[in-house]
């Protein structure tokens, strides 16, 4: 048998030579190095940022952070702390969680378990959420300023800030919760229905508990975004000098990122250091939240 397309028998030696010829592929190596460099840039930036904040804020990372004296007395700049900002953050974020988590999870349940997505209004709803996720946070600040603070008249209070932050992270919570709910296999729902369960029984007793880790992960990440958010609050009166802790939903407030922004603007080096220390504090909280989220995701998310 003959063929023109394929050489008959290559000798073993030929094959060995060709298979084992050392091929230097410079482009290949360069490409891989370039990719590693890309990752390295991102990581180096992260490390540099952390190192900068930590070294700059190092000797303010002590009990003085808990003092309640922002930028009032220059002579005592060295003793200033950010207590009222910490409390403000706690108030605002707690309220944000209380508003956006139930709303987000319920909306996600509606979209995943109840909505007939062949209906135009449900598709519109979905599109709307995707869109909202991309609206800049400062625009939410404008919503808060124009509508919630002024027209509705909540003023520049903890409540306004929490409502605005809730709306801001709502799409994130909805999208994460939907994904978690979707990850619960259909077979679990069918098993529940086949036992005579109603839709809500199926959702509340089977789907939600199984989706909790995913929802929790998404919610933690959403809240950690809310904690760090400053832009909308700038429009909502958080930049004012406040040295008291909020005591009600209608209290004036300031938050950590805003206080950091204020401190950066002060000329005294002590205040810059305090800003760095506050940043470290905030980063520690955020890293902890991120780690919890990742832990929950890895540990509790079921692989069906």
């Amino acid at each position: 048998m003959t063929t023109t397309t394929n050489p008959r028998g290559p000798s073993s030696a030929d094959v060995r030579a060709e298979l084992t010829r050392r091929r230097f592929r410079p482009a290949e190596t360069a490409f891989k190095l370039a990719l590693q460099a890309c990752l390295a840039i991102g990581l180096a930036f992260l490390v540099a940022l952390l190192a900068f904040a930590v070294t700059k804020g190092w000797h303010r990372l002590d009990a003085r952070l808990w003092e309640n004296m922002p930028t009032g007395r220059v002579s005592r700049a060295g003793e200033a702390g950010v207590q009222s900002a910490i409390w403000g953050t706690v108030w605002v974020i707690s309220l944000t969680a209380a508003i956006c988590l139930p709303t987000g999870v319920l909306a996600a349940i509606y979209l995943e378990e109840y909505a007939d997505n062949t209906r135009w209004y449900n598709r519109l709803l979905e599109l709307n959420i995707q869109n909202l996720a991309g609206v800049p946070s400062i625009v939410f600040g404008i919503l808060g300023l124009g509508l919630i603070a002024r027209v509705i008249g909540l003023g520049f209070t903890v409540a306004t800030a929490a409502v605005v932050l809730s709306l801001l992270v709502l799409p994130t919570v909805i999208i994460a919760s939907r994904e978690a709910i979707r990850a619960v296999p259909q077979s679990i729902r069918h098993a529940s229905y086949a036992l005579g369960a109603t839709r809500w029984q199926t959702v509340s007793r089977q789907v939600l508990p199984a989706a909790v880790p995913g929802i929790a992960t998404g919610s933690i990440l959403a809240l950690s975004r809310a904690i760090g958010e400053a832009a909308p609050l700038i429009l909502l009166g958080a930049v004012t000098f406040i040295r008291f802790n909020p005591d009600s939903l209608l209290s004036a407030y300031t938050t950590l990122p805003i206080q950091i922004y204020n401190l950066i603007k002060e000329p005294q080096a002590e205040f810059q250091e305090l800003a760095a220390a506050a940043i470290v504090l905030m980063l520690v909280v955020l890293l902890a939240m991120n780690s919890i989220a990742i832990f929950v995701r890895n540990r509790f998310t079921k692989r069906w």
Binding site: T71, G72, V74, F241, R243, F244, K265
Partner: protein
């Protein structure tokens, strides 16, 4: 702290615990004074929640005359149209001078070629549509160095005062400079560029005297450097200015606000010191106390 003239804040720390909110807003120049006052006052009356905004003098008055704030900080006297706005809403108030300031024109430390500028030269730089963007355009003797300008934010009393004093018309200014309500930006900005020039309150300069150089100003009577003395006696012309707070009548009727203002006045020296401003002269202090007493009565 020693209570001065107020009835309720008369007693030392044993004074009755008051509560309530006090809203202060306005000049970023005066802000540090009110913040210091609020900060010290909080040791005495922790339940009185004082907030100090820094919307700038103009912004402060708009809110003040809208009845949104109790006290308005100002780095220039209230204008007629602002008075009218207040009157329209039935808001009456008193004006109190709480400190002195010298608007300081600063340049980079390395700008060795210049020590003093005349008002006319400043006007040439800052007037609307000014085409001056190099030091040698100010004075041919100056080196060829691009001019980088930093100035007060447009909503600030400093801006109003400077434009009025130098350019002859309020808010009339060239626009191609870096404006900021945040004086630190101005300090850093000028410190960062060799050809930089900026203006802001004297205290900010004093804070950063190591980074910046203040120019003497020739207001017609020779070069005068900004200082405590020249600010107090007014020889630093035309940029020496008093700083004001305005207290609304309706607010002063409330005990906690009245107590706060009394406290502010009684402790004015400490407040000015904390905010690092040029203190009041003895005469000014007497007037201050008297005016508020009269206001409370009348």
């Amino acid at each position: 702290a020693c209570g001065g003239s107020g009835e309720s804040s008369g007693e030392p720390s044993g004074a009755a615990q008051l509560s309530g909110d006090i809203k202060i807003d306005g000049s970023s120049t005066v802000g540090p004074l009110s913040k210091a006052a609020a900060d010290i006052f909080a040791d005495e009356q922790p339940k009185v929640n004082v907030t100090v905004g820094i919307s700038g003098t103009g912004g402060g008055f708009k809110k003040f005359c809208n009845g949104e704030t109790d006290i308005s900080d100002a780095s220039r006297p209230i204008k007629d149209e602002e008075k009218k706005a207040c009157a329209d809403k039935g808001i009456t108030f008193t004006e109190l001078i709480v400190a002195n300031d010298a608007l300081t024109v600063v340049v980079n430390k390395e700008a060795t070629w210049v020590d003093c500028l005349t008002v006319a030269q400043l006007k040439a730089v800052w007037e609307p549509d000014s085409k001056v963007d190099n030091w040698n355009q100010i004075d041919p003797k100056f080196p060829n160095e691009p001019l980088k300008l930093y100035g007060a934010g447009t909503d600030s009393g400093t801006f109003d005062y400077f434009t009025a004093a130098i350019n002859g018309k309020e808010k009339a200014s060239r626009t191609n400079y870096t404006p900021s309500e945040d004086d630190n930006v101005l300090v850093q900005g000028v410190a960062a560029s060799k050809g930089g020039m900026g203006y802001f309150g004297y205290t900010y300069f004093e804070e950063n005297a190591d980074k910046l150089k203040a120019l003497k100003i020739d207001g017609g009577a020779g070069c005068v450097a900004p200082s405590t003395a020249t600010a107090q006696d007014g020889t630093y012309k035309p940029l020496a200015r008093p700083l004001f707070v305005y207290v609304a009548k309706a607010s002063a009727a409330k005990e906690h606000v009245r107590t706060f203002v009394d406290f502010y006045i009684a402790n004015i020296d400490e407040v000015v010191k904390e905010a690092k401003y040029v203190p009041l002269t003895a005469a000014q202090k007497t007037t201050l106390a008297a005016e508020f007493e009269a206001f409370k009565k009348g």
